[in-house]
């Protein structure tokens, strides 16, 4: 996986790459006094890229951000509110998203197309714009280029999340140290397809927006698009990346000798964030990692890995530490891709439970002890070809139901 190509930056965050400041505050959209408005600002125009939800009902801020990025390929700021998704809010919702963008641009002294806007929270309720506008006025005074600035931003984007989600690595390009950082939020309505819940990537690499867009798309397919919490694809999923170029490397191209290191670093950051989202899935107590090998193609392996990770029965069994591999094979069989029904091997961690599609006697106590851990690996080998994929999810618990039975109330 190229781990040697990058170094993990402990305690790094979105303000670690050169040129970035961040901040957050409570403007009044959340009922408690938790942060609900945050911004990341770059001191120079940053090359920018974004991927969006495939849900047909895209929230207003996504439409506004997409439109702006189509006009110019640089960003100076990413503004986010939590507590209200500004989705299915009609013409007023779109006007509100545009107002957020324009006011933030004015407060920062940049052009409005250089401000991306994002929202997360309840669907179908108009934003309280008096509170949002007052918050935007105060935001510039909160900007810091240190860890505290990144921390306040990360708090501002959470909803039902229990923990902040940040990852940071450094890579060497042209002998220069380049940093790549990301922050994300997401806990429920997680079944990203071509995009994710809210994710924000900052880097000081010099890279054009076109190549950044391609890299972001490829990495998304190996990270955020391979997680599921509940099979529900949000109206608000968006991942935005900004590259300040202040690291001093020659501009990256696909043939640049260090492009592979940049890509590996970006992939690591996004996969870490994706796993953090899966582990912090609503009500979750465990991270489930499903790897599928020996498939006819990578696409087939992806379909199977995501079907397993999405199975309510598999998720419930993992919660109960029940080595119920029958539910895994049933998921393999309904994934909609070709499978040789006689050659499937299944392992739970290192424990072989099915070989060539026949049950293998295993020590139930050993399996129970393994399944009581907080990270559960499910390995499926189809023994058909060379296709492979990894997907991440979480267990299904009482708390998932409790949280979602009363989210809006």
């Amino acid at each position: 996986m190229g781990q040697q190509l990058f170094t993990i930056v402990q305690d790094g965050g979105v303000t670690t790459p050169r040129g970035f400041k961040a901040g957050g505050l409570h403007c009044g959209l959340k009922k408690t006094d938790r942060n609900d408005l945050g911004v990341i600002v770059c001191e120079v125009p940053a090359a920018a890229a974004a991927v969006y939800t495939t849900n047909l009902f895209q929230a207003a801020p996504l439409q506004v951000t997409r439109e702006s990025l189509n006009e110019g390929r640089t960003l100076r700021a990413m503004l986010v509110n939590s507590g209200n998704a500004n989705a299915c809010t009609g013409a007023q919702g779109e006007a509100d998203a545009r107002e957020m963008q324009a006011r933030m641009a004015e407060a920062l002294g940049v052009s409005k197309n250089e401000v991306a806007v994002a929202s997360t929270g309840v669907i179908g309720v108009l934003l309280k714009m008096d509170k949002v506008n007052a918050g935007i006025e105060r935001l510039p005074s909160k900007l810091r280029d240190d860890a505290e600035g990144g921390e306040q931003f990360c708090k501002a984007i959470l909803t039902t999340d229990l923990v902040k989600k940040v990852s940071c690595v450094s890579v060497t390009i042209d002998g220069q140290q380049v940093t790549i950082a990301g922050a994300a939020k997401g806990s429920g309505m997680i079944h990203p397809n071509m995009a994710t819940m809210l994710g924000f990537v900052t880097t000081d690499a010099a890279i054009g927006s076109e190549l950044l867009q391609e890299a972001l798309r490829e990495v998304t397919n190996l990270s955020f698009n391979m997680i599921t919490v509940d099979g529900d694809t949000s109206t608000n999923d968006m991942l935005v990346a900004m590259a300040s170029g202040l690291a001093g490397n020659r501009e990256l191209t696909r043939s640049h000798p260090d492009y592979e290191a940049f890509f590996a670093g970006l992939r690591h950051v996004c996969q870490e964030l994706a796993k953090m989202i899966a582990r912090d899935g609503e009500g979750a107590t465990k991270l489930i990692e499903t790897s599928v090998v020996g498939a006819a193609s990578d696409e087939a392996a992806q379909a199977i890995a995501k079907t397993i990770i999405g199975s309510s029965l598999v998720k419930s069994a993992v919660y109960g530490a029940d080595a119920n591999w029958g539910r895994i094979i049933a998921a393999v069989g309904r994934a909609g891709v070709p499978v040789n029904v006689n050659t499937v091997d299944i392992r739970l961690g290192d424990i072989l439970v099915l070989e060539q599609s026949s049950p293998i006697a295993f020590d139930e106590d050993v399996a129970l002890a393994y399944l009581k851990g907080d990270t559960i690996a499910i390995h499926v080998d189809l023994n058909m070809g060379s296709g492979s994929a990894v997907a991440w999810g979480c267990d299904l618990t009482y708390d998932y139901v409790r949280i979602n039975a009363a989210y809006r109330s």
Copy 2:
């Protein structure tokens, strides 16, 4: 829906149609003394039809039954065990299914290809054939042609089901009273695709096996294939129909003036059974009925109805009596079919919550009172075309998780 074409037979069951006996007993596959082996027997060779799961890993009894029905198109008996699915059990599992078939045939004095076999329960464990064989020996003495026989059979096919699932109607064909009855089981791993959990239909109509097969297939697509409990398609889904022909009507054809009545009756029986399965979904407290109209096609409407009914977030919200229509519109938007995002209406029962894709203010107290009922109707009008569909499901509750966290233990 043609309700006037048939009459509901109160307290009718699989032994109500002329020519059928049924019975059940406890042979020892279930840990408690509940029935776990049952059979329906016809006194004459009955025209037969069946549909099977689309899961690639089909259980051994399905393979055996399919093979037998391919050789001859009549059945004298349908034998079922619960407590063990006999799925993913390799060559020994297939031999066991054949032995069950052969011993039941011998005990009844019929040929083995005239016995369908079915199993439901845990996957990947070999059947205790000594117990099954002893049970088969005793089964003929348990056969009765009254309601008690049907009752004992129905009990024998249940696993995590809480209630028996039976439906019976009568229709008039050629002036003769024809009865159609069905029994089913299913509570978890319910997301049938071209077939269902175990379902058994008996009728005394005179109808050839070919037309019966066509009717069964068409009706399945309007009933069992439109329910979901948890999105997991079982390895054992099977629906079998037997027609004794003892009602005395002229053999049905598609052009027979009363074929429509027979079809309407069969559809009613299967839809009632499907709704009973959805309402009795593992842990469920409510039946959810989703109707989609105004779609570009019936197929598009089906995709949307099943996406809504399968959404964990929608299911959790219904459990919590939360009028969270944002989750419904999010499901509409990710169903993978074309939708005009500006023209969607949504109603919860009679309460309009979204019109032309814009939120409508509604009385939360009235909505809460409605959502606290035990049957929740979700109506979606896409205002695009004339496609429509109805799907059924249930809420997602703490008990679903409890049941499935420890099913195998």
